[in-house]
């Protein structure tokens, strides 16, 4: 599956295309099929997201959401593996294993 990601223009946060807009949670990402270029072109004009791009992903083994295929995008989704306190899931001690 193909999902879209980028960084929020104002604050730089990693965001994922959820079908309606941009979410900070990768779990909300949706498969865009062959619509990636059209969505990115429209969103680029809207000036909400910087450097949007499409990536490969697969359904998350947990059954909820998706898991980016490449480690770089999993780190973008989670946060720095060396600072779990700064990630989106600071209270989950096992969240980092999802990246690796």
């Amino acid at each position: 599956m193909k999902i879209l990601t980028g960084n929020d223009l104002k604050n730089g946060r990693v965001v994922w295309w959820d079908g309606q807009g941009w979410s900070i949670h990768v779990e909300d990402a949706v498969d865009v099929g062959d619509q990636a270029d059209a969505i990115l072109s429209r969103e680029d004009a809207a000036c909400r997201v910087n450097g949007g791009y499409a990536i490969d992903a697969e359904p998350d083994p947990s059954g909820r959401g998706v898991r980016p295929a490449h480690i770089k995008d999993r780190i973008r989704a989670y946060g720095p593996t060396v600072r779990p306190d700064l990630t989106l899931k600071p209270a989950d001690p096992n969240a980092g294993t999802w990246v690796i």
């Binding site: 960084n7 223009l9 104002k10 604050n11 730089g12 946060r13 990693v14 680029d44 809207a46 000036c47 910087n50 450097g51 295929a69 490449h70 480690i71 770089k72 780190i75 973008r76 946060g79 720095p80 593996t81 060396v82 600072r83 700064l86």
Partner: protein, 544 residues
């Protein structure tokens, strides 16, 4: 240290307001990303994995306490309570919002700081010996020349649109603590047989994808001719540079392709032209700048003895203190490499502690080392115990300078868009493996440097042990290198063989270190042993 005059203040403030307007227009949708990107990069603002990253320039690594407190304030107010010191003596914030960036630059301008020339195809922050102005072995303080070159070249049109970034370093001692010959253009201040001060000039060095060690292109250049010479070098580079090929744009490629002799010949030809124009800066201008670097009023008659009653303090003194030029004073190295920590990271509270110590004990001066540590350059030996106690209470008293756990590591894939693999976790695992202080001291000087990609921000080419993270079919993989050095015996590390996974590289490092322990001769450092026995003596231990 240098103080801004009215022109400096006006230029930096104008630049902040220019950027404020550029950000406003970008947020209003009046500029595309392609239009805005080069403008934000000219102000040190990158877009990294998780947010914008602001790289703040710390010219030749010199700070005062007011500036350090401002960096702490920015970390608390606009970032997530910490900063990261880099291998170019700068500081990076990794969680910046675009909408805050103009205000941050405005706050920096209040304390005579900025983020100019920390990105883009410009002369980057000029680095220097972090012991400058304090070292017992220096001919003179090299920072006035670093500052002079900075002033000569900042905003100069011919130096603003270079083929690629251009890195300069200046030192004034035989010992090289600034990785001099890994720079595009490097100056060592020397004296000739007549006792005149001049520059030994090196050019064409650099790390990255294609590493080269700089050649000496002039054994002695009169100091007053430096602007003409630098213009000549840059003109030759501008004339030939492959602006069409990003992998061939750095000057090191040109020097290598033209050849040392031909590059030198062309530079000398241009140099004679520039000399004939008589446009070198006046001596009075150098004198004006140099006056800002007048040595602090060192006290005379201070005791040399250090009370070593406290054994933990004694260990720290032995490892972290360097010889000072003034009797009764010492240079204090502050480790930013705690075993469980992240090399180069420092919290806002720790920044404040260090600022307080600089103000109280070091004539208000601080230095950033390219090794991602800090320095209090002028501390009375009688004050060392009090300084150590404060550092210990702040978690800054690790005694591991130049030891196996004093690891340089780039931010790597945890933060950087360019990275292929994480660097910090590897550094942490190696540090953890060698955490025993006695084992570290037994191994002696051993410099490990880790980069998360071929761009080599972690200086792996110059590591006694270097590690390069690569992407192998979507998986992190680490190449091991041995034999590099960034000191006055500069050498380029060589790859040992096939790479390793994250745990495998830690084991491989340990096997290399144990081989060193087995075969070392009395007094030999790891690097000395490697140079004596060669790669083969280590490969067998690493790969079995």
């Amino acid at each position: 240290m240098y103080k801004y005059d009215q022109y400096d203040h006006a230029m930096v403030r104008a630049r902040v307001e220019d950027f404020r307007d550029q950000v406003r227009r970008r947020l209003a949708g009046q500029m595309t990303d392609d239009q805005f990107k080069p403008l934000r990069l000219k102000n040190g603002l990158y877009l990294q994995l998780h947010a914008y990253m602001l790289r703040v320039a710390i010219p030749y690594g010199t700070l005062n306490s007011t500036q350090m407190r401002k960096l702490a304030h920015i970390a608390r107010t606009y970032d997530r309570g910490y900063g990261h010191f880099t291998t170019r003596q700068n500081l990076q914030y990794h969680w910046i919002k675009l909408e805050d960036a103009p205000n941050i630059l405005g706050e920096l301008a209040e304390v005579e700081m900025h983020a100019i020339q920390t990105s883009g195809e410009s002369i980057r922050n000029i680095s220097a010996d972090h012991y400058a102005g304090a070292a017992a072995d220096e001919i003179m303080d090299p920072r006035p020349w670093a500052e002079t070159i900075r002033q000569m070249t900042t905003f100069m049109p011919e130096f603003s649109y270079l083929p690629r970034k251009f890195k300069i370093a200046v030192i004034a001692a035989e010992a090289d603590r600034a990785a001099l010959r890994w720079h595009d253009f490097a100056l060592r201040i020397v004296k000739n047989d007549a006792g005149e001060v001049g520059f030994q000039v090196f050019a064409g060095g650099g790390m990255g994808r294609t590493p080269f060690i700089a050649y000496e292109i002039r054994p002695f250049l009169p100091t007053g001719q430096i602007l003409s010479y630098l213009q000549a070098v840059l003109r030759v580079w501008n004339r030939h540079a492959r602006r069409d090929n990003i992998h061939k744009q750095r000057m090191k490629i040109l020097v290598h392709e033209l050849g040392e002799e031909e590059f030198r010949r062309q530079v000398e030809e241009e140099f004679q032209h520039f000399l004939s124009l008589g446009e070198d800066f006046p001596q009075a201008e150098y004198d004006r700048i140099a006056a800002y670097f007048t040595p602090p009023p060192f006290e005379a008659g201070l005791p040399e003895e250090i009370d070593r009653t406290d054994p933990d303090f004694a260990v720290w003194v032995d490892q972290q203190i360097a010889a000072h030029k003034a009797p009764g004073y010492a240079i204090v190295n502050i480790s930013l490499k705690p075993i469980q920590g992240i090399g180069g990271d420092i919290s806002a509270d720790q920044m404040d502690v260090v600022a307080d110590l600089a103000e109280r004990y070091s004539f208000d001066e601080l230095r950033v080392a390219h090794t991602q540590n800090l320095v209090l350059p002028h501390v009375r030996k009688a004050d060392l115990y009090a300084v150590w106690q404060s550092l210990r209470d702040a978690g800054l008293a690790d005694a591991n300078l130049d030891l196996v756990t004093d690891i340089i590591a780039c931010p790597g894939l945890d933060y950087c868009t360019l990275a292929n693999a994480r660097s910090i976790p590897v550094a942490q695992k190696i540090a953890d493996r060698f955490a025993d202080p006695e084992r570290q001291r037994d191994l002696g000087e051993l410099k490990i440097k880790i980069s998360g990609c071929i761009n080599a921000c972690g200086h792996h080419h110059a590591g006694h042990i270097g590690i390069l993270g690569v992407d192998r079919k979507g998986t992190e993989n680490y190449q091991l290198l041995l034999g590099g050095s960034g000191d006055e015996t500069t050498s380029q590390a060589k790859i040992t063989g096939p790479g390793f996974d994250e745990d495998g590289i830690v084991d491989a490092v340990e096997r290399a270190v144990e081989r060193y322990r087995e075969v070392r001769e009395p007094g030999e450092r790891f690097l000395d042993t490697y140079r004596r026995v060669g790669m083969e003596g280590f490969k067998e231990a690493i790969y079995g």
